[in-house]
């Protein structure tokens, strides 16, 4: 077989190319930064606002029971943990060195994805536990001031809700993440194998 019959290099270079104006690129650069920043801001603001709201309740209603205070603290800890881990994950992605060899880069991608997979399921469970315990403790003071019937009813509803999030929402959420990440890891590993 003779390779020289076809001049691949010549064909390759005949591809039509239009070089966009450099201004276009700079505009896109700004958009790029804006979108990623916006996502970061929205998550942080939502979580921050919730925390502020809870602190406000603390001051405004002056809870008497220690259980209420512990509840508030646990809820805040849950949110802050989630926030910190989420931000850390984003920054590992940003800090990945794009100027490595393809092989190193692929390995790094696989490593990050694995870490993400681990963190997401762990942190999500921790988040639900802390939040559930926190809210249950927090509600106790207010429920104890209600009549027995309403107090019990409040807790029944609360536990139903917590059960729903734990047994339905949490596994669903974890599974959704896992399928996506597992597919990616598989694909990256397959590509990485091409280099061996």
């Amino acid at each position: 077989m003779d390779n020289n019959n076809i001049d691949f290099k010549d064909l390759w270079k005949k591809q039509t190319i239009s070089q966009p104006d450099i201004e276009d690129l700079l505009t896109r650069l700004k958009q790029f930064k804006k979108t990623s920043l916006r996502i970061l801001w929205i998550t942080n603001i939502v979580l921050f606002a919730t925390c502020v709201f809870i602190v406000f309740i603390w001051y405004y209603y002056q809870p008497q029971f220690i259980s209420t205070k512990i509840g508030i603290v646990l809820t805040i800890v849950a949110m802050v943990t989630y926030l910190v881990v989420y931000n850390r994950l984003l920054s590992t992605f940003k800090n990945i060195d794009e100027a490595q060899t393809n092989q190193q880069y692929l390995q790094k991608l696989i490593f990050i994805k694995r870490k993400q997979q681990f963190l997401q399921s762990r942190i999500l469970s921790l988040y639900f536990v802390l939040l559930g315990v926190g809210i249950s403790l927090y509600m106790y003071e207010y429920a104890s001031r209600m009549s027995l019937f309403y107090g019990v009813l409040t807790y029944v509803v609360l536990f139903l809700w917590i059960g729903f999030t734990w047994f339905y929402l949490r596994p669903k959420e974890i599974k959704k993440h896992e399928i996506k990440i597992n597919n990616l890891i598989e694909k990256f590993e397959e590509v990485n194998k091409q280099l061996h």
Partner: protein, 157 residues
């Protein structure tokens, strides 16, 4: 080298590399632009340890690999409006066929052959991809054989 100069010098080469990877004009434009965005952001970290070309091609090919992930997230991306006007390209079928064949290769082979066709030296290709030189040479040879085979089967010769 100034960024603008780099952009002008390397755009065509980076675009073809991306085009070889995805064989889709719009996505390739996007990937090439993304590459230059990274180059723009990281230019001050470039330390002359490798040649500028190697450095840029590494960024471009890694960005192509990263595309595997993005493919699933954003199926179609937006482009600056006035680019679309120039998209009417009636290429020779042979050129189209070459790009199509390359885009059907395994991912890393696409990168390797694109770099080879860009006249990047084989030892540089090895440094970009992270393979040994011997390995790279063997791979290039095999890919070329595969392409020739496809051209023959298709009666493109």
């Amino acid at each position: 080298m100034e960024f603008e100069e780099i952009y002008k010098t390397y755009w065509d080469r980076i675009f073809r590399l991306c085009m070889g990877f995805v064989n889709n004009y719009d996505i390739a434009q996007d990937l090439a632009q993304e590459t230059f965005i990274i180059v723009w952001q990281k230019l001050d970290t470039f330390r002359n340890e490798s040649s500028l070309g190697t450095w840029i091609f590494r960024i471009a090919s890694n960005n192509c690999l990263r595309q595997i992930e993005k493919q699933k997230r954003y199926p179609k991306s937006e482009l600056p409006v006035h680019l679309t006007e120039e998209k009417q390209h009636s290429l020779e079928p042979q050129i189209q066929f070459l790009y199509q064949c390359i885009a059907e290769l395994p991912e890393t082979d696409r990168i390797i052959i694109s770099l080879e066709l860009e006249d990047v030296k084989q030892n540089e290709i090895a440094k970009i991809v992270g393979l040994s030189e011997t390995n790279t040479r063997v791979k290039i040879h095999r890919i070329k054989e595969k392409l020739t085979q496809k051209f023959k089967e298709n009666g493109q010769q």
